[in-house]
Symmetry: C2
Subunit: 574 residues, 2 copies
C-alpha cells in the first residue's frame, strides 16, 4: 500500500476530547473517524489490525472445537421476551418497531440467539458438548462512551456459547476457554493481561472471569495478591478482615453531641474506627424501602456485592423521611424499627465491644455486643476490598489495588437461558434435561485500542508484529532523486513479492514529516532509503520500538527484512 | 470437522413456506435458521461459504486498489439529513431514538458514511482517485422478504465507493470495477451472470449496471438481444418499434357501443391493436392529479421509465371522478381537458391514422393523425419492452425476455452526495470542486443462495469447489468395523494434514441416511470407506455433480484427492 494513495490523514494536535493516549494517537494517526457518540468509522490501518486480531481469535476458537456461525444484529423482541431480558435490560438495549409495527432489538449479546439456533437441533445427550461462536457487530447504548474504541456503543465482538450436559463438563471446557483466551491475548501482543474473578452482572450465572489489561486508564478496579496470585475484580473480591476482639464492656448510652460522621465519633470518643459499627442506608429501587447495612467503621460497602446478596436493585438513600424512624448520623441496631431490612457485614464478626448509634439524635452506645444485645444475625460479605486487605486465599494482608481495562470475559451461565427458553435434551436415561451453558466474549476494537494504550510512546502506537497493520514501512526520502526512487521502489516490490506486508511512503514530503507519520503508523520495522544510504549502498533498518537499528546491503535488504519479520512474528506464536 | 460434533440437522421435508429450490434445500440441509421475517441465523456450512465468497470479493477489490474500511451499522440521522435521504427514503430504513433521544438509523447503504469518512481527508486533486470498501451487515426493512437468503431484511454486503476528479476517470474505473465483478462471479462459481443496464432508483446517478444471475425464480425481468448482446433491465430497456405508416384518413367519430378495452375496440372495428392509440391513466402520489399516457394499443407502460420521465412518484389511477372529465374506456387526446397532463410514447410516431377514444361514452375516432389533429407533441420512451421487440442497438426484432436475480450492482453516482454533503477538493487551478463518485455493491448471502439455486439437483446443493464449505466429505459407512473405522479416520487425518478441508461423517447411521445428508452438504468430492472398498483396498471417490467416479488405492487416496481438489480449485482461478 502506498501512503500517497491511502485515505486518511495524520495531524499533530489531538482533538480536545481525547483524554487518554491511545484515543489521541489513534485519532491523530488517521485510524478512525468520529461519526456520533460512541460510533466510529475505521480507516484501513485499523481494519487491517482488527482483521488480524479476529484471525487470531478464530484460530483459537477453532482450536477448542468452536463452530463459527452468524447470528443476526436485528432480532425480534419476542426472542428476548422468552428469556425475560426484554424487560430486565434497560435503555442500553436499542429498540425499534419495524414497518409492520413489530418490536425489534439490536443485539448487544446473543445468548438468546444461541439457544434459539441450538435448541431444536441438539436433542440428545450425544450431541453435546459443542461450542458455537460468531464475530459480529453489536450495539449497546452505553450511557458514557469514552476513550475512543475503549468504550463505544457500536463494536465488533467475538461471542461464543458452549452447551454441556454436566457442570463438570462445563468447568472442564471453561478451563480450555480460559487457556484459549490467554493464548489470544499473548498472540495479539497484549503484555499485561490477567484474569480475575468477576461479578456476572446481567449475564446471570455464578462463576465468571474477566480478562483485564492492566492500565492506569482502566475503568475497573482489581484486587491482586502479590503473594499467592489471587486476583479478583473489586466487584467480586471477598473482603476478609482480622479483628481484634477487645474486651467485653457494658452497653452504655453516651451523649455524643454533633458527632455524626465516623471521624467525628472517633474523635469525640477517642476510639478507633475499627471499633465502630457503621450504618449505611440504601433504598430498594422498586419501592424506596430502606436497607441498613452495618459494617466496620473503617470499611466501605461494595454495592455490587450488596445487590447480589439482596437480589434486587438498590441505590444509596436519597432522602430519609422522619416517619422512617431512622435518625441519620445516629443509626444503630438496638431499638431500630424491626420492619427495616438490615444487613450485617462479616467485618463485625468477633468484636466484643462496638460503638453504634442509639437511634436518637446526639446519642451513641458503647460496649455493644451483637450476640448479647441483638441476638443471632446472618453475617454476609458486602465490604469493599482495599489496599493492604487480607488476601482471601493466602490470608496475608497484602492485597494490592490496580486498574484494568476489561478486554474479555468468560461466564459459567448454568441453565438460566436454557430453562427460560425451554431448551431440553434427552439424557442417557431418556429424561429431559436443560443443557448447561458457558459464554465467552472479546471486544475486538477495544482490544486493539487497549494494545495501543499499552504499547505506545509519545509519537505514536508501537504495534506488535502479530497485529501490526503492515510488517514494514519503506520510507522514500527523496522521490526526486532517481537512484533513491528506484531503490525504494524496488525494495517495495521485492518485499511484496516475498510476502511481506509493506506500507510504502512514496510522498514528496520532508523527512521530518515522513518520520512523524511513520511513528503514527506504528509499523514495527522501518526501512529508510535516502541519498546517504544509497551512497553507502545500504538500506537503513530500524524497529519502531527502538530495540534494533542496522544497515543492510541493498541487494540483501529485502531478504534480511523478511527474516526479521519472520523472527518477530514467531515470538507471538504459541 | 466431524458431522457428529456439528450443530445443525438435515431433514426430508422442506418447510411449507419454501417455494424455491435453494431456500428449501438450504433449510433442509441445516444451513440456516429462521429468526424472524427476513432474518436468519447461519450455521457453520453457510458461514464457511460466505467467508470464502467474502475472501474472493476482498481479493478482487484489493486488485483494483480498494482500501478496506469499516462504517458503522448504526448512524446518527443527522448524517442522512445532510444528503436528504433521511426524508426521501421511506419505511425500508429502520429508525430509532437512542437513550438521549437522538434519532438514529440502521445503514441500508453507506454513501453518506463514505463521504463523511473521505471529505475532510481528500482535499487536493492529488489525493484522487481512490476507492474504499467494507464488508458489513446491513438492514433494509423489505416489505416482502422471500426465498430464504435471496431477499432478506438483514444481510452482509460488500459496498464500495470510488471518488474521482473527472467523469472520464470515473468511467475508466467503472470499467475496472465491472471487470472485477465479472471475475468475482466467475471465481465464486456462478455460471450464468450477465450485466445489464439498469435504472438507478434511489441511489441517484445516471449510468448503472446490475449483475444478474439468470434464473427462472429471479424477480427482475431482463431484455436481451441474442444477436448483438444488448442487455438491459426491463426497467431501463429502450423500447423501439417499427411502425407501418398506413394511409391518411379523415378524422371520423364512430359509434363503438360497449367497446372499452383494446380487445373490444379491435374486434368491433375489425382493426389491429397496433393502430390504436391507447390511453393509460395514472395519478401523481402527491395530489392525485391525473396523468394520461398515450401509447400504441399493443404495448404496456413501464412505470419506472414513466416515473423517471416525470420526476415524481405516481400510481395507476385508483378512481376516476366524474368532475375530472375523463371518460374511462373512451379517453382520447382530441377534446381532452388541457389541464390534464399527457405523455406521448414514441411508439405512436409515424402512424398516419390512429383509432382513439372520443372522450364520450361509446364513441371513438378513427383516422386520427397526431400532427394534424393535435399538433406538435413531445414523444418520449415509456413503453415496456417485450419478447420480439426491436433491439435498440442492432435494430433486429429479436429481443428475448429473461428472469434474473440481481447479485451485484454498480452505479455512476456523479456528484449527488458530494454536492449535498459539501465534499470538495482543490483542483490543479486551486478551484474548489465536488468529487465524482461511483458505488459498487454485492450481497454476500444472496450470492450464496443464488449459486445454490443455479447449482443443485433435487437432493441438495452442488457447491462449486471455490466456495464449497469443505472440499471433501469422507463417509465412514461402518464405524463399528475396525478396519473401516481406522481407514476412514486415517484418511480424514491425512487429508487434513495435506491442507484439504474435510467434512468427516463419523456417525453410526445407515449408508442411505449418510448419503442423503452428504447430498445436502453438497461437498464437491466424496470419499467413501466401506467394508467393500476396504476389501478391495481402495477408497471410492466421486464428485457431487456426478462428473467423476473412481477408486484409489488406500495408500495413495489422500494424495490423489488432494490433486483432484487442487485441479478443481484451479478452474476458478483467473
Amino acid at each position: 500500500m502506498k501512503v500517497s494513495k491511502m485515505l486518511g490523514e495524520r495531524f499533530k494536535e489531538a482533538p480536545k476530547d481525547c483524554i487518554i493516549a491511545s484515543h489521541a494517537l489513534m485519532m491523530r494517526g488517521g485510524y478512525m473517524k468520529y461519526v456520533g457518540n460512541g460510533i466510529y468509522s475505521l480507516f484501513t490501518p485499523t481494519k487491517r489490525i482488527t482483521t488480524k486480531i479476529e484471525r487470531i481469535i478464530r484460530e483459537e476458537m477453532d482450536r477448542i472445537d468452536g463452530q463459527e456461525v452468524m447470528f443476526p444484529v436485528v432480532m425480534p423482541a419476542t426472542l428476548w421476551e422468552e428469556s425475560g431480558r426484554y424487560t430486565s435490560i434497560g435503555s442500553e438495549m436499542a429498540r425499534f418497531k419495524d414497518r409492520s409495527g413489530n418490536p425489534m432489538v439490536l443485539g448487544m449479546t446473543h445468548e438468546e440467539a444461541a439457544v434459539h439456533l441450538a435448541r431444536d437441533t441438539a436433542k440428545s445427550y450425544a450431541d453435546f458438548p459443542f461450542m458455537i461462536y460468531q464475530v459480529q457487530t453489536k450495539f449497546r447504548d452505553e450511557p458514557r462512551a469514552r476513550g475512543g474504541l475503549i468504550r463505544v456503543r457500536e463494536f465488533t465482538m467475538k461471542d461464543a456459547y458452549s452447551f454441556h450436559t454436566s457442570q463438570e463438563d462445563l468447568e472442564a471446557y471453561y478451563e480450555k476457554a480460559h487457556e484459549a483466551y490467554e493464548r489470544i491475548f499473548k498472540r495479539a501482543g497484549a503484555k499485561n493481561v490477567i484474569s480475575v474473578k468477576s461479578d456476572s452482572g446481567m449475564m446471570g450465572g455464578s462463576v465468571s472471569h474477566e480478562f483485564m489489561l492492566l492500565s492506569e486508564i482502566g475503568e475497573d478496579t482489581l484486587a491482586i495478591c502479590p503473594e499467592c496470585g489471587y486476583k479478583a475484580n473489586m466487584e467480586a473480591a471477598d473482603c476478609l478482615v482480622k479483628n481484634e476482639a477487645g474486651v467485653a464492656e457494658e452497653l452504655t448510652k453516651v451523649h455524643t453531641p454533633n458527632s455524626k460522621t465516623i471521624e467525628e465519633v472517633v474523635n469525640f470518643l477517642g476510639t478507633d474506627a475499627k471499633k465502630l459499627c457503621k450504618a449505611v442506608v440504601y433504598q430498594k429501587n422498586e419501592d424506596d424501602s430502606y436497607i441498613i447495612v452495618f459494617i466496620r467503621g473503617d470499611l466501605e460497602v461494595n454495592e455490587t456485592k450488596l445487590r447480589n446478596h439482596l437480589g434486587y436493585e438498590i441505590h444509596p438513600a436519597t432522602a430519609i423521611t422522619e416517619e422512617s424512624g431512622i435518625v441519620a448520623g445516629f443509626i444503630g441496631a438496638i431499638g431500630l424499627d424491626k420492619k427495616i431490612k438490615t444487613v450485617w457485614d462479616r467485618s463485625l464478626v468477633g468484636i466484643e465491644s462496638l460503638v453504634c448509634g442509639a437511634n436518637e439524635t446526639d446519642y451513641h452506645y458503647t460496649g455493644m455486643n451483637v450476640a448479647r444485645d441483638i441476638g443471632e444475625v446472618d453475617y454476609v460479605d458486602v465490604a469493599k476490598i482495599y489496599e493492604g486487605a487480607v488476601c482471601p486465599v493466602c490470608g496475608k494482608p497484602v492485597i494490592a489495588i490496580n486498574k484494568g481495562i476489561e478486554v474479555g470475559n468468560i461466564f459459567q451461565l448454568g441453565t438460566k437461558y436454557t430453562k427460560s427458553m425451554d431448551m431440553t435434551y434427552l439424557d442417557a436415561n431418556g429424561e429431559a434435561k436443560h443443557p448447561i451453558m458457558g459464554c465467552y466474549g472479546i471486544g475486538v476494537g477495544r482490544l486493539c485500542a487497549s494494545i495501543c494504550q499499552e504499547s505506545h510512546d509519545k509519537f505514536g502506537p508501537i504495534w506488535p508484529m502479530s497485529i501490526a497493520p503492515w510488517h514494514v514501512e519503506v520510507c522514500n526520502l527523496r522521490t526526486d532523486n532517481e537512484l533513491v526512487n528506484n531503490t525504494a521502489n524496488e525494495l517495495y516490490e521485492s518485499l511484496k513479492n516475498l510476502g511481506v506486508e509493506v506500507l510504502y511512503d512514496d510522498r514528496d514530503i520532508r523527512p521530518g514529516a515522513m518520520f512523524a507519520d511513520a511513528d503514527l503508523f506504528g509499523v514495527p520495522v522501518r526501512a529508510v532509503v535516502s541519498p546517504k544510504t544509497c551512497e553507502k549502498g545500504v538500506i537503513e533498518v530500524s524497529f519502531r520500538d527502538k530495540s534494533f537499528k542496522g544497515e543492510f546491503p541493498i541487494a540483501e535488504a529485502a531478504e534480511k527484512i523478511k527474516e526479521i519479520v519472520k523472527a518477530e512474528l514467531a515470538k507471538y506464536e504459541i
